[in-house]
Symmetry: C2
Subunit: 206 residues, 2 copies
Amino acid sequence: MDMVERRPRKQSATRLTAGDWTSAALDAMARGGLAAVAVEPLATHLGATKGSFYWHFANRDALIEAALQRWESDHTDAVITLVEAQPDPLARLRTLIAMVMESTAGPQADSIELAMLATASHPHVAPVLARVTERRVAYTAELFEALGLPAVEARHRALLAVSAYLGHAQLAHAAPQVVPGTAAERSAYVDRIIRLVTAPGDDRQE
Amino acid sequence: MDMVERRPRKQSATRLTAGDWTSAALDAMARGGLAAVAVEPLATHLGATKGSFYWHFANRDALIEAALQRWESDHTDAVITLVEAQPDPLARLRTLIAMVMESTAGPQADSIELAMLATASHPHVAPVLARVTERRVAYTAELFEALGLPAVEARHRALLAVSAYLGHAQLAHAAPQVVPGTAAERSAYVDRIIRLVTAPGDDRQE
DNA sequence: GGAGGAACATACGCCACCGTATGGAGGTGC
DNA sequence: GCACCTCCATACGGTGGCGTATGTTCCTCC
């Protein structure tokens, strides 16, 4: 609720850059979804007016595109590079699942991700989301393959894992009381999930 | 795209009921989300004017509440009663998972469900979604308990199963190309999921 | 230290939707 | 057949956001 302090220092920052607008757009998106990315409210929030905005951007759509693009690049690199630091595939998979699961918990969950999913049909959101999702599934499938699973099996488990993540994010958002609350419970739950999705390929008969 | 035929017969149906408006509201929600539940567009779609609407409802919020209430009651009963027809817990679980997974496929997926998730933060949507979600998790956990799993374990698997469903719905919506396309592939994928979530409780050491 | 452009503010018209006020059509009771 | 109530149409004012036009400030370069 704290107001954004305008003219904070002396010289710089009294003038805005296009990046300031996209940052504010992503903030607004985290709070109120894509609908909250509105020019005039953003201008008020930044202590400016529309005149500034329409200098940096052609229209609202251009701002949305810029924000989505930045989210995609920022977001994609972050997780994967972190996971790649792990030594072996199992540790990577474990790190990956634990990370993303934890990211959906707490008061400051990844709201932008939820906002993206909530607006998946939007013409500008759809391609971004499709690319990110496809990349996630492909990368997770690679990890399962590195564990020795055949391709089809690996892809199935990757789909399940990514679905579990997306679904868990929705669960934590829509019904927070049903998901494990304490860190210890979450840890046990994540362990259980990891064991289930990494269970050895069974040879049970149908 | 076919227009709604107004004044189709002779006497009745020239006048609308409150139910007609809630039906139209749910239709609109399936197409364009909660934002599409707008009075004037709905009136146009129904071949009427706002004058009619504001006779049956106090305001837009009242319509939304009525639509959500009807969705909750209609929706909750449908699935569970169908699943309860199965003889044993395993068959019920299998039927449940297969049903909901299939419901997210094809061109006519359950769009209302996605619209609900997309607007989970809305003050009227949140409680409805919380109730439905909690009920689903509790019921699924019951099925796992009936399979002989201890309570905590059953709840974890139920959470995973419901997450997988929600996530799969998002996946199919956001990145249709990554989910199994043909019925046969979907069937194999569902089989794989069922085997993973119903895998015998392991006793592997950490 | 003045010219010119970059970065803004101000003011305007426009559109979509909400909600209200009021009048009018159509059935119903008697 | 007329009063009456139900259901709806028409017309209006209000709000919030988009985009444009034009004035205004500040910075820069020479």
